[in-house]
């Protein structure tokens, strides 16, 4: 059964332009022309219970706006949303107790106090029974290994430690649905991996439905089987991450390894576009349909070949390509 149902969701923003300089500022004091931007346009999708879906898009694509509507922060201009059977912007307590929103760039922890105080605060707000609270907290704190930082002022913690505490604060009430907006932003590689591993484990063990947005492709590759790509407020792809490559990657990469004699660039140029060249290793970009035949003709040539590996184009490149193409799609 679908836990999240979104139909024809749209939201526009009001803004105004200011001409450059002081005179522009003075003018705008008296007259401001109202303009409207479509942040989200006719977006529809549904997500099943326990799914972990990646929400991709460049800055300003409409990802966060959609998450804001799903969590009830924003009223849509038009369209319908049901999450766990509730209309989010009605802000019913029964709904609010069942989901959590975590934003990498906004924090809920009280900066001047140790994280444990925010946990206590959430316990009171979400009306979590003492026993359940202790169990949940112990479990999460152990998973993240943050027992020894719970009594340190939040502002003194590193960004990675802070994000772990943010996650704990968001999960104390055992939400059924979790919206993660850039949870790994600004973190170093190790901290990113920690958070990623945790999300993966949590999703598998608790069967929590998760929507994740991230600019880091590693997050998406490792966590999401399904992705929704949004650009200029419209969904341009919704499906399995693996199929994305089949659909959009028009090329494959042939990695050809030569023996110690090596080759000259011009000897292999005739086989296709050269992506990278070294006398002993070379990457050739070919159309998908031709990959096999080119590999065969390489093998049957006189070149000192040791091995050929056929690779898919990197997912980052595919997505970059989609964004470049999307206005035309």
């Amino acid at each position: 059964m679908s836990e999240i149902e979104v139909q024809q969701l749209s939201r526009s923003y009001e803004y105004y332009r200011k001409q450059q300089g002081l005179s522009g500022s003075l003018k705008s004091l008296f007259y401001r022309q109202k303009l409207y931007a479509q942040a989200v346009q006719n977006v529809s999708f549904s997500i099943k219970s326990g799914e972990l879906v990646g929400f991709l898009g460049s800055n300003g694509a409409g990802k966060t706006t959609t998450l804001k509507m799903l969590s009830g922060i924003l009223h849509p201009t038009s369209g319908e949303v049901k999450v766990l059977g509730h209309i989010p912007w009605k802000r019913e307590k029964t709904y609010q107790k069942q989901f959590a929103l975590l934003m990498g760039q906004k924090n809920q922890l009280i900066q001047d106090l140790p994280a444990i105080e925010t946990f206590t605060l959430n316990k009171a707000i979400y009306e979590i029974p003492e026993k359940e609270f202790q169990e949940n907290m112990d479990e999460l704190v152990t998973l993240f290994d943050i027992k020894d930082i719970l009594d340190i002022q939040v502002r003194k913690l590193s960004l990675g430690q802070r994000m772990k505490c943010e996650l704990v604060a968001a999960l104390l009430h055992k939400p059924k649905v979790l919206f993660l907006d850039e949870p790994t932003i600004g973190l170093d590689v190790v901290a990113q991996k920690n958070i990623r591993d945790f999300i993966k484990k949590y999703n598998q063990e608790k069967k929590t439905t998760i929507i994740l947005t991230s600019h880091y492709m590693e997050d998406i590759k490792e966590l999401c089987k399904r992705v929704i790509i949004i650009n200029l407020g419209k969904i341009i792809y919704d499906g399995a991450l693996d199929d994305l490559i089949q659909k959009y990657a028009t090329h494959k990469l042939l990695k050809v390894i030569f023996n110690e004699n090596g080759v000259k660039r011009k000897e292999i140029e005739k086989f296709g576009e050269i992506d990278a060249f070294h006398p002993h290793v070379c990457i050739i970009k070919t159309a998908r349909s031709e990959a096999k035949s080119i590999a065969a003709s390489l093998l049957s040539s006189n070149l000192p070949i040791e091995d050929i590996i056929i690779n898919e184009v990197d997912i980052d490149d595919v997505i970059r390509q989609i964004f470049n193409l999307s206005p035309k799609i």
Partner: protein, 265 residues
């Protein structure tokens, strides 16, 4: 109730983290009261015994006791709300199963508890410094009326600050509005000088507004320059204001939230 108490106690703890800031504010406050007293001593000089029915001792008592009451009433909620709305932090609150109104009011009470207590103690200390000049008057009935008046004035101020803060839904910043209202408030509260120094119309207007109940009226009641019935009528006016403000807040909040765009998220 437990919810509210948890929030209050957590923000009380936070306030204690910055005790230096809280205490350094008190120096300025005590200084301001002293300047007002010095000014009035200079105005009275040696030859004037009475100005608009106030002797110099009554005037000094008015300033001291008025500031003492006022210390219990103030809050700084508007700027907190402005910041929450402007920076989009409000988003973090409105996804939680508790109303922002109850949350932020509890937070503010916790936040100002320490500064209010220290401010009241400072004002009390300044009164003791003028113990010989200060007019000591105690009357059970008056004490009761003044106490209720101060509590209602505290609630009124809290609601008014909340309302001013909510204007940030439309304007992003409310600093200017806050400063203007603060000055109007200080004037009509009698914080600059007793309102009966002015034509009687000002006193009448101030009775209808909520501001005088935080300084002028309780101070006049303390000095028994007003009858206790004036105080009782005042309590009624205060209750009306609380209801009016609450009603306006409901409307403004509902409209504002629809406009809210969670900027900066």
């Amino acid at each position: 109730m437990k919810k509210y108490w948890t929030i209050i106690s957590i923000y009380w703890q936070r306030a204690l983290t910055y005790r230096f800031t809280v205490l350094s504010y008190r120096v300025g406050e005590a200084g301001e009261t002293l300047v007002l007293i010095l000014m009035w001593i200079a105005i009275y000089g040696g030859d004037r015994t009475m100005i608009s029915g106030f002797t110099v001792r009554e005037m000094i008592t008015y300033i001291l006791v008025g500031n003492f009451f006022n210390a219990m009433i103030r809050n700084f909620l508007s700027m907190v709300i402005e910041k929450d709305i402007k920076d989009g932090r409000l988003s973090m609150f409105i996804v939680k199963p508790m109303s922002y109104f109850s949350y932020i009011l509890s937070q503010e009470i916790g936040r100002i508890s320490f500064s209010t207590i220290s401010s009241v103690l400072t004002s009390g200390f300044v009164i003791l410094c003028f113990a010989n000049t200060f007019i000591w008057k105690f009357d059970g009935v008056y004490f009761l009326v003044i106490s209720i008046m101060v509590i209602l004035a505290f609630i009124t101020e809290l609601l008014l600050s909340y309302l001013v803060g909510l204007i940030a839904f439309w304007t992003d910043e409310v600093g200017g509005l806050y400063a203007t209202i603060d000055r109007i408030k200080k004037f009509f509260s009698g914080g600059y000088f007793p309102l009966n120094l002015l034509p009687v119309v000002f006193v009448n207007i101030s009775f209808a507004l909520p501001f005088a109940y935080s300084f002028f009226i309780p101070a006049q009641l303390y000095l028994k320059k007003f009858d206790v019935t004036v105080g009782l009528k005042g309590l009624l006016v205060q209750c009306c204001w609380i209801l009016i403000l609450y009603g306006i807040i409901k409307i403004v909040w509902n409209r504002g939230l629809k406009k809210y765009e969670g900027v900066g998220m």
